[in-house]
């Protein structure tokens, strides 16, 4: 849907920009020696900047910050359209009347919560607006508007909101204040992230201070800018790389950044279907209604812990640790942890490897009644190597093997390699997926499958880390040192961070620069996030389409 993007550079501009973009990328990944005058990286081509809508996840966090309502109110909104596995891709969203109706109901609920909190409103406005004093009401509108719309209101906007106040302050002033709040929370300045450019601009233009504050806060906290960030925008300090990095470093150390990392990684690793996942409980009675939530909590804790202690790509792929409480430890057949609740547990490194052996990940990438070497192998290709195997041709009749309890899984998939036609694609997936066979469809270790000792040997081909596999740790060790996996992880982050697929030469330049901070010396996800804000795609808008 490229033609739908507002500020999409013309084709001729792209061609002309290519060489420049690549040139500008020469110093990628140096990560040091920045000055206040540092130009954005990959400056010739910031790529398109389609209008973004705040996602359901971001909506809940933002509206909670603003009004004190519980973030779970967002759950009554329809789910976000997901594409490329992420919830924030701008090309996909649409709004129905039902959706708009939910925005209305939630906005009213949030407005009621805020206006019941006189102290909160007084702190915000600098006076108590609930008596209806005109100057104080105006101060409240300006102050709340600045937070909700992430910038100072224009005179016209202020006037429109005061007129609405007059219409809805019936019977009491608080009703009018609630009317203003409910309106602001449905307006495009709140639900979307409009970044009006300079009409007819023929070259990339800088995002203004408020725009950068909004980009930065949603990237790192999944919510609107706090007071410090708005003040920095108004002081003009975000216009320089140094000023931008100062705020970035502050927010990277905020606990909310960990939530964002969990959110990103959970989408990247396709954990989300877990919430509604069902398994065949006649075959796997250990799986109960409470299992999905327990496995999700385990993964959240694992990812948060990784974020706190240096989130390298290698630790994500290989760390032999997890988190469990007594019930979950028993589910996995592990010794009960000492202490209450979820505890960090060291695992056997010949069996466990980071995200690859999380129960959540393994259960999602399996069927209800059997494992799936295809789904697991496909995940590695598509999500970790960014080389999704070609889909099955429409002409064939796909027949997943029937569960024959007398045969282990890999024998049931034998046709994939016996038939040369099937093999042409399945050799890309199944031999990777077989290395996961020590883990059953609900994510637990198993020594046997169909009463036969598990054969977890496989092979990895067509990558920069080819070789024989035997079990998940052997696969993880290879992936952890693969440059292709590093670039793929950076690509996934790029898509999430910018809410779009990579499309231009400038995008490829940015991904390369991101990858080098993820996998270079001392690199990790935090360094890559930090690098993101130095990109032209972050600091600049593309030229206006003619």
């Amino acid at each position: 849907m490229l033609m739908k993007l507002t500020r999409f550079a013309t084709r001729s501009a792209l061609v002309a920009a290519t060489a420049l973009a690549l040139g500008a990328c020469g110093g990628k990944g140096s990560g040091s020696g920045t000055t206040t005058q540092a130009a954005p990286l990959c400056a010739a081509d910031p790529g398109p900047a389609p209008l973004r809508r705040i996602t359901r996840f971001e909506f809940g966090r933002t509206i909670a910050d603003l009004t004190g309502v519980d973030p779970s109110v967002a759950q009554t909104l329809p789910p976000d359209e997901e594409t490329l596995d992420f919830d924030d891709i701008a090309a996909a969203y649409s709004v129905s009347s039902l959706h708009a109706g939910r925005y209305l109901e939630v906005a009213e609920q949030a407005a009621a919560t805020l206006t019941a909190n006189v102290t909160g409103m007084t702190v915000l406005a600098g006076c108590d607006p609930t008596g209806g004093d005109a100057a104080c009401v105006s101060a409240f509108v300006a102050a709340f508007g600045r937070r909700a719309w992430r910038r100072a209101l224009t005179d016209d906007e202020q006037a429109a909101m005061l007129q609405l106040y007059a219409e809805t302050a019936d019977p009491k002033p608080t009703d009018g204040l609630a009317g203003v709040v409910a309106t602001m929370l449905q307006a495009p300045q709140f639900l979307y992230r409009p970044e009006p450019g300079i009409a007819g601009a023929g070259a990339p233009q800088p995002v203004d201070g408020y725009g950068l504050a909004t980009r930065l806060s949603y990237l790192l906290t999944g919510a609107g800018p706090d007071e410090t960030l708005l003040a920095a925008a108004e002081a003009g300090t975000l216009a320089t790389e140094t000023g931008l990095l100062t705020q970035t470093d502050r927010l990277l150390n905020d606990p909310r950044a960990a939530d964002l990392f969990v959110h990103f990684a959970s989408e990247w690793w396709e954990i989300e279907p877990l919430a509604t996942m069902d398994k065949d409980e006649s075959l796997y009675p250990a799986w109960t209604d409470s299992t999905p939530a327990a496995l999700a909590k385990e993964t959240t804790l694992f990812l948060s812990d990784a974020w706190k202690n240096g989130p390298t790509l290698a630790s994500l792929l290989t760390a032999p640790v997890t988190f469990a409480d007594t019930a979950l430890a028993s589910y996995y057949g592990l010794p009960a942890p000492s202490g209450d609740g979820y505890q960090r547990i060291a695992l056997d490194r010949t069996r466990a490897a980071g995200m690859l052996t999380q129960g959540s990940f393994l259960a999602v990438h399996a069927k209800a009644n059997q494992t799936s070497p295809v789904l697991r192998g496909k995940f590695v290709r598509a999500q970790l190597l960014c080389t999704p195997p070609p889909p099955p041709p429409p002409s064939i009749v796909v027949s997943p093997p029937v569960v024959d309890p007398r045969l282990p899984t890999r024998q049931r998939f034998a046709q994939h390699t016996a038939d040369a036609f099937c093999a042409s694609c399945h050799t890309l997936m199944d031999p990777i997926g077989f290395a996961f066979e020590n883990y059953d469809p609900i994510g637990r270790w198993r020594d046997t499958d169909a009463d036969v000792p598990v054969d977890a040997t496989g092979t990895l081909t067509g990558t920069d880390v080819d070789g024989d596999l035997n079990g998940i740790p052997s696969l993880a060790a290879k992936l952890a040192v693969s440059a292709e996996v590093g670039t793929c992880a950076a690509t996934q982050w790029f898509r999430y961070a910018f809410g779009r697929s990579e499309q231009t030469s400038g995008d490829l330049c940015a991904i390369s620069a991101l990858a080098s901070t993820l996998t270079g010396p001392g690199g990790d996800f935090k360094q890559m996030v930090r690098q993101t804000v130095r990109m032209a795609a972050f600091r600049n808008l593309p030229p206006e389409a003619p």
Partner: protein, 441 residues
């Protein structure tokens, strides 16, 4: 403030003709009972069917129901079964263009959803038939249409069949409690408070709309279009607020919704039953005249454990025609869906319409599937079951085959519109429509 339930008001109004002053203020009298409205319902079930087990045998007015359609036997005289049409569709993979074209008769745009063996596709390029009906009827009801679903899954084009217009999918609500809150809240809100709330919301939405116009004017054309689409949705809510809820049907009452784990696989039948109850009551209260019922989604992996079938439906649908285990299970799954269709018909037949008949008398139901056959993704000879004669708009008790004539299903859609007194001569993509379906009505 004393709360007066809607149920009490309706009983009062119907029983003793009491003139309640605020009732009149809230719902201005309209002479709506004089005309019995036509209604249109779509039901969807996924993953194709088994033509050998689905197709009836015999002559047009003297036919024998197939194994899959057997649950509909009590209603055989009210059915019009149509076979032999090509269900048009394009763009994306077989399931995507199947569900996207099923009700729109239009292909999908290119877009962000990467399917299997096809370029990535987006949303459909035209409105679905129910939305065309809603637009043409322009009923003075609070909702132009209501979209009900059961475990419809992710918000992508495999899970959307209803389109208000090109690129504007309407998501079904798959939580009965949310339907109850959004649709029936007027029935249990004090009328005075309700009048105040409506006036207030009108002011708020006016102001919200003003901001969409303001910001849209500052953006480029593609971004502005997205805000315009949002503005359209806001305007629809405003229209609803100024629409008076009039009904003269004593059978209309505030429904009850029991709590159920809406997304749990084994809740599938229970959620569906609740949704069909709510759908029926929404029609009885004349909250809408157009509705849809979306069971799961294309590529549905619902496991029919209540039929002792542990396999995912889509996995089963790809097994071979000679796999007797799969054929047996798929037949039973499709029989179950036919039973739901029969139950929906029965609900309508059992619900008075307030004018001396039942809801079913003036209703037309279309049951369709995104595919004809699951394991080939074929859309040729797509399975359609129509029920109800829409107040005399079509002749039922028939099985009509168009096999071998190469006719597109868009033609059937034209005829269905005509049966509902909508004089359209084409539907969907122009190339895929040659006029009404001769001999259908």
């Amino acid at each position: 403030m004393k709360r007066i339930s809607r149920r009490a008001i309706l009983r009062g109004a119907a029983g003793a003709a009491i003139a309640l002053p605020w009732l009149e203020a809230m719902w201005p009298r309209k002479a709506r009972a004089a005309v019995t409205p036509k209604r249109f319902i779509v039901m969807f079930s996924p993953n194709g069917t088994l033509p050998t087990q689905w197709t009836p045998t015999g002559a047009e007015t003297n036919f024998t129901l197939s194994p899959i359609l057997m649950p509909l036997a009590p209603h055989q005289g009210d059915l019009l079964i149509v076979e032999g049409l090509l269900q048009e569709g394009g763009g994306g993979d077989g399931h995507q263009n199947g569900i996207g074209g099923m009700l729109t008769g239009s292909p999908l745009n290119p877009g962000p959803f990467a399917g299997v063996g096809a370029p990535p596709a987006g949303w459909a390029t035209g409105p679905s038939i129910d939305q065309r009906v809603a637009q043409a009827l322009a009923a003075p009801t609070p909702f132009q249409s209501l979209e009900f679903g059961v475990q419809v899954g992710a918000a992508d084009n495999w899970g959307r069949m209803i389109y208000r217009a090109a690129n504007q999918p309407l998501p079904p609500t798959d939580d009965p409690a949310q339907v109850y809150t959004s649709v029936f809240s007027d029935l249990h809100t004090d009328p005075v408070a309700l009048a105040h709330l409506r006036a207030r919301r009108k002011s708020i939405l006016d102001a919200v709309g003003g901001e969409y116009t303001r910001i849209g004017s500052q953006l480029g054309s593609a971004d502005k279009q997205r805000l315009d689409a949002h503005l359209t949705a806001v305007r629809e809510i405003e229209t609803r607020l100024t629409t008076s809820l009039v009904d003269n049907n004593p059978a209309c009452h505030d429904p009850t919704v029991t709590t159920v784990a809406t997304q749990a696989n084994d809740s599938f039948p229970a959620v569906g039953a609740l949704q069909m109850d709510l759908l029926t009551m929404a029609l009885a209260c004349d909250l809408t005249r157009v509705a849809s019922m979306q069971w799961s989604r294309s590529v549905s992996q619902v496991r029919f454990t209540w039929l002792n079938i542990p396999d995912g439906h889509h996995d089963l649908s790809h097994r071979s025609d000679t796999d007797s285990d799969a054929v047996n299970k798929l037949t039973r799954i499709n029989i179950w869906y036919a039973q739901q269709m029969a139950d929906l018909i029965a609900r309508l037949k059992n619900m008075p319409d307030g004018a001396g008949g039942t809801l079913f008398d003036n209703t037309l139901i279309l049951w369709s599937n995104e595919l004809a056959k699951g394991n080939t993704h074929s859309r040729q000879d797509a399975p359609y079951v129509l029920a109800g004669n829409a107040g005399g708009g079509l002749r039922t008790g028939r099985f009509v085959s168009y096999e071998g004539q190469g006719l597109p299903h868009n033609n059937m859609m034209v005829s269905l519109l005509n049966a509902l007194d909508i004089p359209d001569t084409t539907f969907g993509k122009a190339d895929w429509c040659t006029g009404p379906l001769i001999g259908l009505l």
